[in-house]
Symmetry: C2
Amino acid sequence: MQPGCSPGMRLFPRGAVLAPEEPTCFATAMTEPTQEQVEQLTRAFARFTRRFKVADAAAAADNALNALDAETLVFVGDNPGCGIGDVARYLKVAMTTMSSAIDRLVKKELIERRRPEDDRRSVALKATAKGRRAIQDHVAGYRQACRAMLRSLDPGEQRELIRLSEKIADSET
Amino acid sequence: MQPGCSPGMRLFPRGAVLAPEEPTCFATAMTEPTQEQVEQLTRAFARFTRRFKVADAAAAADNALNALDAETLVFVGDNPGCGIGDVARYLKVAMTTMSSAIDRLVKKELIERRRPEDDRRSVALKATAKGRRAIQDHVAGYRQACRAMLRSLDPGEQRELIRLSEKIADSET
DNA sequence: CAGGATAGTACGAAAATCGTAATATTCAAG
DNA sequence: CTTGAATATTACGATTTTCGTACTATCCTG
């Protein structure tokens, strides 16, 4: 996702929801994990998720942004020039809900609306300087959690965790 | 956290919030990760989190449980006999908010209240059979996401990811 | 230009969260 | 035993958030 997405080009087309498919048993090149392995990872990740939430709560206490507004702000920061529909589709909320969220963020001077000349139906969203600072604060919570994770590993394991995380994140499906 | 927590013993005492401490530079046995490593992991985990959210949304569409109610149900399922205050402290919401959430879940017959004889101020919560089924469905979404993660790795990497995840989850701090 | 599609907003209803106050119960002195 | 503080929860009302429907404005296509 490059910054400065051109308006008119849709970031998240309507049908692009990644549907979780059932574990059908067709043979692939990769080895299917065992049920026990899946359970182990599920349990471990539940604790990760909880730790992330703590970071979220701490960040929210600072600038009084609710979860949707914070996620919206981060998305707009990553995708300057995007429209309200783009954010709504990405975060899977109703268009009107996103419109309200944008209202709140504009009122707090964290993002700004602009009418592009080439398509005057849409609005182009952009984080303000104040908004970018707020994003930094918000992301800092996540970064803190990630740092804590890495701290409990020794150097070789740290590198390995990063490598595996990127491999998973970059994999299709 | 053992199942069947005895009432009167508090699961989450008031002061027990794990405060995220600043990255002060005191020397430890473990190697402090570099800023770049932290950033890499943060980026990768942002995508993990998003994938988990998709699973959440899919599960929510089925039985029409909002995020708080779902988390509440899972917690009660893991901690039968717990009280409303326990859940409220764990999920960091106001007592009255949790009371409302419990109301909704009781109305849907997913959990049940009971007045323990030894402390008749409190209520003991427990998931019903229907509730346990709903938990299974909810957890299945998470499991599905974990399975997808493991699928993009080869067998050795799968084992290593599980090992590292457990090491981090089991580490103090 | 007409008709339809697209992007967003206005408005009102429904739902959720939360703070304050009230109720019921337990506990600890005196 | 009684009084008063502490604890666990609920009742109630205010505020905020989400969302569906209807509406406006603009673009596109023939």
